[in-house]
Subunit: 430 residues, 2 copies
């Protein structure tokens, strides 16, 4: 008879941690019935003793009580942040414990080291909750799509920024007002920098790229732009052209080149991704067998994340009770390289603010043409009282480096009265 009971320790008892513990305890019997495995949460630690009040009978005095407990099979790390989490996860693995984590910052930085160490120690890592809350995107990419060559992943991966952009669109309000609304409703943290700067989305798209292509690139080497500079007027003009503005994590593979980037993006209004509102998340995937697929769901909140944590804990429990260790490699030994951001090609949206006099459009167009950028449509507005009018333009496919050079030249024109706004466009049919 093999081992049929699994002990779990939890480090971190905040929103996700407490939801997980409560959720798991209430579903324990059903899970046992379905899998034949008895899984128990035997210890929980949090630095804030108040958070342990509900779980007194299993409260631990220190994380070490969990990490060094020989009876514990799985450590669930839900403290967030990098330094302590890294230490706890590493020590847990060294002590032959499998680890389940929701920590995208940790995995996007130390993922390779963590997975390698886990393989060395014959333990497992679960990270479903680290990306897109309840959406089973990690498992789908890793297992369901294992026969696919994945070519494209586009994700709305951060609920706070998506909420802000939805509010700005529907209520015609400024970024700062929408951010305050998000804070008031508890959708944004007191310090929302990581969200609005795009870095949280960056961590998540790096993880999805790692799972799909086997290479974990550094956040320092990809382009990350946030939504702080988005003005209501650009949301309105995008709408006029038939687009919504969304903060996307984008990952595309062409041959052995991968491009990964995070920035506000114009998306065709009728695309399913454009319809993802509020704090919800969605991930769009293309692969050679699946064609086009989309996953939509709640990206944040204790319950959504704890659904994914439970799933990981159960999966790993099944693996532990079976006797052989099944290794897991994302890396297919292909030499994959990251495309320089300046080399990417996409369509662009520009908003120039120019003196309303003849010849201005000609000057702008000439600079664009000289830089190999061709215009697909343009609207020149006539309603600005200060005589500086907005000229809005969409381009055909152009190279990032050429666009930057052209914008720099255009901004230097005497007729240009404000820094030009540039946004990138994703066009694709469903």
């Amino acid at each position: 008879m093999s081992k049929k009971n699994i002990n779990v320790g939890v480090i971190g008892c905040g929103t996700v941690g407490s939801s997980f513990i409560k959720g798991f305890i209430s579903k324990k019997e059903i899970i046992k019935k379905k899998t034949g495995i008895e899984i128990d949460i035997v210890k929980v630690f949090d630095r804030d003793k108040n958070k342990l009040r509900l779980f007194k009978n299993i409260a631990a005095e220190s994380p070490d009580e969990i990490i060094y407990d020989k009876e514990i099979d799985i450590v669930v790390e839900l403290i967030g942040g990098i330094d302590y989490a890294y230490e706890f996860v590493k020590k847990s693995i060294e002590n032959k414990k499998s680890v389940v984590t929701a920590n995208k910052a940790l995995i996007s930085k130390y993922g390779e080291e963590i997975f390698n160490l886990a393989k060395e120690k014959n333990v497992y890592i679960g990270l479903e909750a680290s990306v897109a809350g309840a959406i089973p995107i990690i498992k789908s990419l890793k297992e369901s799509f294992i026969g696919n060559k994945i070519t494209k992943i586009l994700g709305i991966l951060n609920g706070t920024t998506n909420f802000i952009l939805s509010e700005m669109f529907y209520k015609k309000i400024k970024f700062s007002e929408a951010l305050n609304m998000a804070k008031k409703l508890g959708y944004a943290e007191a310090n929302p920098e990581l969200d609005i700067s795009g870095f949280d989305t960056g961590h998540k798209i790096l993880i999805l790229s790692y799972i799909s292509f086997g290479n974990l690139f550094s956040i320092d080497n990809i382009n990350v732009e946030g939504i702080e500079k988005i003005e209501p007027v650009d949301i309105t003009y995008a709408d006029e052209f038939g687009y919504r503005v969304k903060l996307l994590g984008i990952c595309k593979r062409e041959g052995n080149n991968i491009e990964i980037r995070v920035h506000p993006t114009l998306l065709p209004k009728n695309h399913l991704l454009s319809l993802v509102e509020g704090v919800n998340n969605a991930v769009y995937v293309e692969g050679d067998l699946i064609g086009k697929a989309l996953f939509y769901g709640e990206g944040a909140g204790g319950n959504a994340a704890s659904s994914s944590v439970i799933s990981d804990v159960v999966d790993i429990s099944k693996k532990i009770v079976s006797k052989s260790y099944i290794e897991e490699n994302f890396n297919s030994n292909e030499k994959i390289s990251l495309k320089l951001f300046d080399e990417i090609e996409t369509k662009y949206y520009f908003r120039f603010t120019a003196i309303d006099k003849p010849g201005v459009l000609a000057k702008i167009s000439k600079i664009l043409g000289d830089n190999n950028i061709s215009i697909s449509s343009v609207i020149q507005k006539k309603d600005n009282p200060e005589k500086a009018v907005p000229i809005i333009m969409l381009t055909h496919m152009a190279k990032e480096k050429n666009v930057k050079k052209a914008i720099e030249e255009i901004n230097k024109l005497d007729d240009i009265k404000k820094e030009t706004v540039m946004l990138r466009v994703e066009e694709f049919l469903f």
Copy 2:
């Protein structure tokens, strides 16, 4: 050292079968790299010898050559239909082979027997490809959402009927014309009865309900309506009220009561499900932890299905090489009962065809009122040359049995000139 190579036999080499074999062979090395397991397709059988031409070196003379081959670990059944498939699957399991199948008709009829036999013989069943093509809905319900109490599943599960309804909407054409279009494009079979009658959707929603709730109900005990009777005029009026018409498989749980039904359904236009066009599929799921989730993807075609077959083959291979058998139960021992269709409550759309004279609306309204049906909105059209005008009505929540009774009474009125059209409405916010 445990066994690290797995042999697969394939019965059925049509569209999905040949896509699977080709796809698998081309991905074999990557799968080996990722899992450490060597998986080989060693035999393939089809009654039509022509279909085996491409695979001469592994062609079998009879299915028995696969079913009784002691070296084969997994049998992939892709012949479709029920009788032969049932025999092959059963014999394969009896010979201690795991089975992967895309056969929804088979599973929706014999699923319980097949899963019980598999458990008895310590082998596994993979059925991802049986519902919604490439969409990993089975795995998500079984594994990713294992911590959830699922309360609602709504699915566009049949590509043919969804294509026809999309065509009727966009091109303002009749059912028969759209069906011909589907046949011409290869989206409908020569005999599309199983699709357009709703029974294919019925098989699939029964499987999703089985995976989620542990009870496999019979297609004979659920309401199944197809799209044959949908007229363009109802699609137009639905549009005026803000709805799209979609063929849905619906499964809802309330307490230990489950309702399962298949019928054309009015869905709010801005709901993600309404935007699923052409041969695509989508499944919407609600659960206590996940909240609301949606999966979208290609529902048909050899590649989409073979992506799911590959995933099942790899998953089962991993389980086989690990030494312990992990049982799998969908049944949670709850006593779940199927709600009688007459007892369901939903909102309704009616199209009455009535003589255009004073008092008709009052008579209709009285009958509805007497049957506890309250009206939420009504449009009376004035543009019918034959003096019989359409009256279109939406109701608040009402009971199916009352609605049927009321319609019967209304149809008997002298002023009613045609059988009343009744469609059901699903209202829910995303």
